[in-house]
Symmetry: C2
Subunit: 321 residues, 2 copies
């Protein structure tokens, strides 16, 4: 059955791929994006569809948001500050505004308009430094970054609204999502390495000690998993890790990028400390067994996902040149 | 050694008792309170002390807050929306503003002024509906009320600031705190029952089915425990349940109030549903073994705490009449 779907942050890497998929399935999709990090070009293939519309707007503009929410069957709230790194000197309330407060705005607009289904992009960063690996959903959540902390705030508010106003909500705790369209902001490790090696192919500066190891998941599989979960666990509050159960080290990613670029004798220079930046969680593996039990499993492990991501970045930059 | 202490919400039940205790120990105390629920009369015994000062201000007034924070050795951030109940028709952003955003303001003021120690009043409501009882600190946190959700948001931001800016922070997850000065807003069950029975001593209307059962702790013991924890676990991020390990049913509290008032043949009329209000957690017991292992233990169980609270309310209303 055709549904009306609002995607906040729908001009981003994940949102635009989700929009395409939903349009392909016959749904009517509205993308709401302020284009602070999303790009209109991500939506170019959708422009010709009668089932697609784009609304350029900020989530802090409550009236516009409320009008966009009205009449929707479901909201995918993917908009967020995409840059998980906090740099000294930056404002400390960027994540509070763009994550916590914007998510409240979405929830309140939905409540006022009687829209009851919400899918939300959370993050493995809510777990912080966990002794238990891989990390299941009922692990304590002790974020160590402003990004992770404010995403946990969003989760908590979603849980309260879900209970108080009888909503159905899906909280997806993403692994590192790679592949598909390259991010324009909040650069990923793959894009960062390719950029650096193009400027100087003799040396690669790596943040942290190179032993950071994380779970990676392809955008396309992330979209698969979300759509699957909506069908397989259709009511209540669902909190689900989205990822595969392995991880990949930053050093190995460097090797893969060097190999893909056909380089040799690249010298790696490492930073100090176990994390790449303040608030970085150096090592984590997600436990995806909850969504596995529902019947979904990633087809690509972390290394395969990163390999595909490298190819996608190289292909995109070839197109541009 | 004498320290300079800022207490936000210091004109409230807990804050004013903490202020008295700290002044008694020789510290210099500034109470910061907008008197939205706190009362100046709670501070009357402190007015004569040279070590005490009161600043009437709102935490949303960042400049005033920053000037109050400057030069402090530690901040006790107790200010919050005291009313845990959400009533249909109320604004849904009350807790977001008064808990989440105000706590961010405190953290940011501390960061800017280089004040590195923060003690925070969180709540057992962060746990939500837990299968595991009694509930230890590493339990999943799934709040079902806006109050609980925004307190969890505060906890998460405190954790991020603690990590990024090398602070020492104590997050105290309070049981229901009773006794001492009666709350003027966000009424407790004891005050509610006494008030109702004074109006009509033949019948008592009880919210929910009366089987709600919660952990109670005396204000004086709550203050003891916080001061103990600061000494016993002086660094890093400390998350501690504060309470005893038993609980007390609402029906039993009704019996205790009826007994204390010398009434007989009071008919109880129960509401419907297991919770007293939307977002109420009907039953919980806190596991205090973490602070017990540090060396602190409540001297009064939940029933004794509630009995003392009843006597305190009756004594206070006698003084007034």
């Amino acid at each position: 059955m055709s549904e009306r779907v609002l995607i906040t942050g729908g001009a981003g890497c994940i949102g635009s791929e989700l929009a395409e998929r939903l349009i392909g399935l016959g749904h009517r999709v509205t993308v709401y994006d302020n284009l602070s990090s999303g790009k209109e070009e991500h939506l170019s293939s959708l422009r010709s569809s009668a089932n697609f519309s784009f609304l350029r707007g900020d989530l802090l503009d409550f009236d516009l948001l409320e009008s966009a929410v009205a009449g929707q069957d479901i909201v995918f709230h993917l908009a967020a500050n995409p840059d998980v790194k906090f740099a000294p000197g930056e404002a400390t309330d960027k994540d509070l505004k763009q994550n916590t407060i914007c998510t409240y705005q979405v929830l309140e607009a939905m409540r006022r308009r009687g829209v009851r289904r919400l899918a939300f992009s959370s993050t493995s960063a809510v777990y912080g430094l966990s002794e238990r690996q891989p990390i299941p959903e009922d692990n304590p959540t002790r974020p160590i970054s402003l990004y992770g902390a404010t995403k946990l705030s969003c989760e908590a508010m979603i849980g309260a609204f879900q209970n108080l106003f009888h909503m159905d909500c899906w909280i997806f705790r993403f692994a590192n999502i790679v592949g598909g369209r390259t991010r324009k902001k909040g650069g990923t490790v793959v894009g960062d390495f390719i950029e650096k090696l193009r400027q100087d192919s003799s040396v690669l500066h790596i943040l942290g000690d190179g032993n950071q190891a994380k779970s990676y998941l392809l955008v396309s599989e992330c979209v698969d998993a979300m759509l699957f979960a909506l069908e397989a666990a259709p009511t209540g509050l669902q909190i689900l890790n989205l990822g595969c159960d392995d991880c990949l080290s930053v050093r190995r990613i460097a090797d893969l990028v060097v190999e893909a670029l056909g380089l040799r004798n690249v010298r790696y220079e490492f930073g100090s400390g176990s994390g790449g930046w303040p608030g970085d969680v150096p090592r984590f593996r997600l436990d995806p067994s909850k969504i596995n039990r529902l019947g979904w499993r990633a087809h690509h492990n972390s290394e395969e996902a990163v390999r595909q991501s490298i190819q996608a970045v190289l292909a995109e930059s070839l197109c541009r040149s």
